[in-house]
Each structure stands twice: as C-alpha cells, then as structure tokens.
C-alpha cells in the first residue's frame, strides 16, 4: 500500500461519505451541548471538498489536502471549519509536494495538523474538544512510526484507534472551549461532536488505505 494522491482522494471521498452517514448523529451530539449544526457543517463542507476535487484534480497528496483546507475554511462557518481547515493546511505543508508518504512523514503531518488546531483554537488536552481526539492520535501515530517495522497502514490504524478512544474519553469532561463551555457542568455526560468527527476522519484514512 502506498499513500499517494489516489489514496488522498479516496480518503477525502470516504470522509464525505462518513459525514453524510453520520450527519444526524453529529447533529444530535451537537444538539446536546452546542447548536445542533456540526453534522450539517461537516457534511456541507466535505460535499464541497468533493466538488472541488472533481474540478481541480490535484496531483499530490499535499495538493489534495490544501484544496480541502481552503474549501473547509470558506464553506464551514462553524468553529470546526477554520480548525479543520488549518489542520489540513498544516498537514499539506508538512507533506510538501511528495508524491508518496512514508510512515515518518505521515506521523509528522498528523502532528502538524494537531498543532494547527491548537494554534488556532488555543484548547488544551481535557478541554473537551477535537484536540482530545487528535493528541492521542498523534502520539499513537508517532509511536507506530518510530517502530522500525511500522507501515503507513499501521500508523493510520494506530491513529484512528487512539482518536476513537480519545473521543469516547470526552464524555465525562466539562467543556472549557467552544460553545459547549457555556454549559459549564451541564456539558459533562456528552461526547464532544468535534472529537467524534475527528475520529471519523481518521477512520476514513484507514479505509482509504486498506
């Protein structure tokens, strides 16, 4: 398995599918502690990404991610738009114009994405945001890549599993960033929608490589 532009396009296509399929679920998560639009935002955003991809036919994984970044930033008015936008942009920069991605660079790109989210949103671990999915994912990815025998698929699997665990772990947390923070203690007992969608995105990356 090589992670080339075809993988990137498959990934983004699977992201769009996942957002469409989980639209209602993400909306329900956001209804509990936000404003009920996260599913709508993500679905609309990734549908727009698909349209752009079909038009622009990028030639490298980095170019595909950059297009994704620009589209999410301009189409998604919710907080998730600029955050994911920055994540994809930083990841794209980390990939440069490489035609194929090796495990080390993959882990670096994931770390860059996470750092972008933190830089924009200023959330810390435990604030009950998408960062709580991304940070464990980045750590798991780094560990998998550091293992001499690590493959890109292995890195992706590690990241996705860690993100899923991280999303689940947001359930008991009290939100300190984003719309859910208005609720104070009432935000505990609900999963953070952005952490949930982050896990979906990383799971889609595995699907595209499998």
């Amino acid at each position: 398995m090589v992670l080339d532009v075809n993988w990137a396009v498959r990934w983004l296509t699977l992201c769009a599918q996942a957002m469409a399929e989980n639209r209602v679920w993400l909306i329900e998560l956001d209804r509990a502690i936000g404003d009920s639009d996260h599913g709508e935002n993500m679905d609309r955003g990734f549908q727009a990404v698909l349209d752009k991809l079909a038009e622009a036919r990028p030639e490298t994984p980095g170019a595909a991610l950059k297009l994704t970044a620009m589209t999410l930033m301009s189409k998604v008015g919710g907080a998730a738009g600029p955050l994911y936008g920055t994540a994809f942009l930083r990841a794209s920069t980390a990939l440069g114009d490489a035609a194929e991605i090796d495990p080390g660079r993959l882990a670096d790109a994931l770390a860059a994405a996470r750092d972008g989210i933190v830089a924009r949103g200023k959330a810390e671990s435990g604030d009950k945001t998408m960062v709580d999915a991304w940070t464990p994912a980045v750590e798991a990815a780094k560990a998998a890549a550091a293992d001499g025998a690590g493959t890109v698929l292995g890195v992706l699997v590690a990241a996705a599993e860690a993100a899923e665990a991280g999303a689940v772990a947001t359930d008991p947390l009290v939100a300190r960033k984003g719309r859910a923070s208005y609720l104070g203690e009432r935000s505990a007992g609900h999963r953070d929608p952005g952490a949930a969608s982050s896990a979906l995105i990383l799971r889609a990356a595995v699907g595209a490589a499998a």
Partner: protein
C-alpha cells in the same frame, strides 16, 4: 417554521439580495455582505459587524450612518468565512482603519480573526471587539468567555456613533470595549426555530416550560422553569442582571427588551412596562430604551433583556442619531 424559499440552500443569499433590493438607499451588496451605499467620509473608522444570517436586524439591518459601516453575512446561523469578512472590510475601509465587532462565538472568532490578520498584513489597521453580554454563558469572573446576544446593538451603536463623530480607531475601540464591559443580557426561550428546509425545529422547549439562558442558535439554557407570569419573568430578568452589575455602574441605564422572533410586540411592551417599573424601584433611571425585534433568531419564541450602564460619554454616543434599515434614532 421558515417557509418562504425556493431552494433552502439559496435561502441566505436570496434573502440578502432581497434585503438590498428593499434598502437601496442604505446598502449595496458586496461579495460576502453589504456596505453602506451612502458616502462614508474619508478617514472615518469603518465599523464592520457580522455573523450568521437569521438574526435580522442583526447584522445587515444595522448598516448606516451612526451605526455599522458594513456587515459580513454568513450562511444561516454560521459565521461568514474569513475571505468574506476580508472583502467586506476592504470595501468598507475609508482610510481610518477597521473595527471588527461581532458576537463571541468560536466560529466567528476564528474567521474574523483570520480576516484581521490579513487586513493588518496589508496595512489596513484592524482591531476587534467581541460582544460578550450573555450572563448565562459564563460566570462574571470569566466574562471574556461569554457569548454575544442582543448586546450586539449597544456595542455597535456606541462604536458607530464614535466613528461617525470622527474619533480615531483607538478611541472607537476603547468606547466599544467600554460599552461591552457595561452591557449585560439574559434571555429566555419558549420554543425553537426551524431552519429553511428543515423538517423539525432546531430545538424544542417543552410546552408550558421556559428555558433560561438558551442561546440564539438553540444552545441549551442553564435551567428550565414552568412558564411564569409576565411580572415574575420581569423580576427574574431584572434581578439576575442587577446581580451582575458592572463596576462603577452609575444609575442611568439603557434597557432593551428584545424579541427573538415570535414573542410579539404587545407582549414585549407589556414586559417592558413591568421591567421599567422594577428598574425604577431599584433606583435606576431608564434612558432612551428600546423594545422590539433587534437581534432575532428566525421564528424562535424567546426574548431577552439587555442593560447598558451608561456613563457620560456612553450616554452621548447612545443618544446620537443613527439611521439604518432597521434601526433609527434622532435625526
């Protein structure tokens, strides 16, 4: 329910086009929002407001002399994108710099923040004052985390009047910050609103109940209560806001009773009458109040009370004339 549309996806855009068509004397359409169609004196600070659509008169309805210079208009309840904000601000800039002002929501903060970076990088001096009036959204010691609701109006009005008076960007920013620091709001909701094309409301409040502190996009409130009488509701709103009185308050306040969409005028006036009495009893003088639909949320059933504690300069800028499609004052 929101019913009047062809294709729900085009709703916000077509509504904005129609708004401009109905208000050509005030506004012109630009990519991303609207700017004043009347001349802005060279060197005047541009007060650029904005946010999601569905809150009319906020934000496009507040563009005009003495108020906002331009408004960036996002999709329904969604922040405009950074690029839109950037373009609107560039169109609004008259050489005096730009004050961005909008409700404190993460999406808006991120998009407006990015636009600000770009404007400053191009040499257009740009500042930001986010509105943080909603006392339900965070405790007083975390006032900077609070979100913006109907307090948008007091902050925009003070900033707009200061800009119209020819003040510098520093001064306009200072006054907007001061207005925001002295503005408090609290809202209640009785039922949800429905986005165009949606089959169900964004949220519901159980019949006979009232949700205290429910946000204008349906963010859950801080507590639920049985529907009170108007007198009890007035008491509740006034006592909570007075418990959050800013430092050095003085005793002159602007009071704004704002309807979110389907609590209608007679109801708002009835409540206002009771609120004014309570404020008077509390030793406050109500100065040039407002009662109507000023920051709405489609057809949401709810209302809010906003108080702006005046000092001398705020009172002057509050009283100054303003003339926009949805808000006029003096002449």
């Amino acid at each position: 329910m929101t019913r009047i549309f062809d294709n729900p996806a085009d709703f916000a855009d077509e509504a904005l086009d129609g708004f401009v068509a109905a208000n050509r004397g005030y506004v012109a359409r630009v990519n991303g929002g609207v700017v004043r169609s009347t001349e802005v004196p060279a060197g005047q600070v541009a007060v650029v407001v904005g946010g999601g659509s569905g809150h009319y008169p906020a934000f496009a309805g507040l563009v005009g002399p003495g108020l906002a210079t331009a408004s960036a208009c996002g999709n329904m309840f969604a922040s405009p994108a950074a690029g839109q904000i950037y373009r609107v601000a560039k169109a609004a800039n008259a050489g005096g710099g730009v004050l961005l002002s909008y409700g404190n929501y993460a999406g808006d903060v991120l998009h407006f923040g990015q636009a600000q970076l770009r404007l400053n990088a191009e040499g257009i001096e740009t500042r930001t004052v986010t509105v943080t009036d909603d006392i339900a959204s965070a405790p007083l010691d975390q006032i900077g985390k609070r979100r913006g609701i109907a307090g948008d109006l007091t902050v925009f009005k003070i900033a707009g009047a200061a800009a119209e008076a020819g003040l510098s960007l520093d001064e306009v920013e200072r006054l907007a910050i001061k207005a925001n620091h002295r503005t408090r709001s609290l809202g209640v909701a009785f039922d949800g609103c429905t986005l165009p094309g949606a089959v169900a409301p964004l949220f519901r409040v159980p019949a006979g109940q009232m949700s205290l502190g429910l946000g204008i996009h349906g963010e859950p409130g801080i507590s639920e209560h049985p529907m009170p009488t108007a007198s009890a509701l007035a008491e509740l709103l006034v006592s909570r806001l007075l418990a959050d009185t800013p430092d050095h308050p003085g005793n002159r306040v602007v009071a704004i009773v704002n309807g979110l969409g389907t609590v209608k005028y007679d109801e708002l006036f009835l409540l206002f009458g009771k609120i004014e009495k309570l404020l008077t009893v509390a030793g406050l003088t109500v100065v040039e109040p407002e009662c109507g639909e000023l920051v709405t949320s489609l057809d949401m059933s709810g209302l809010s009370l906003t108080l702006l504690w005046l000092d001398e300069e705020l009172e002057q800028y509050w009283a100054d004339p303003a003339d926009s499609p949805a808000y006029r004052k003096g002449n």
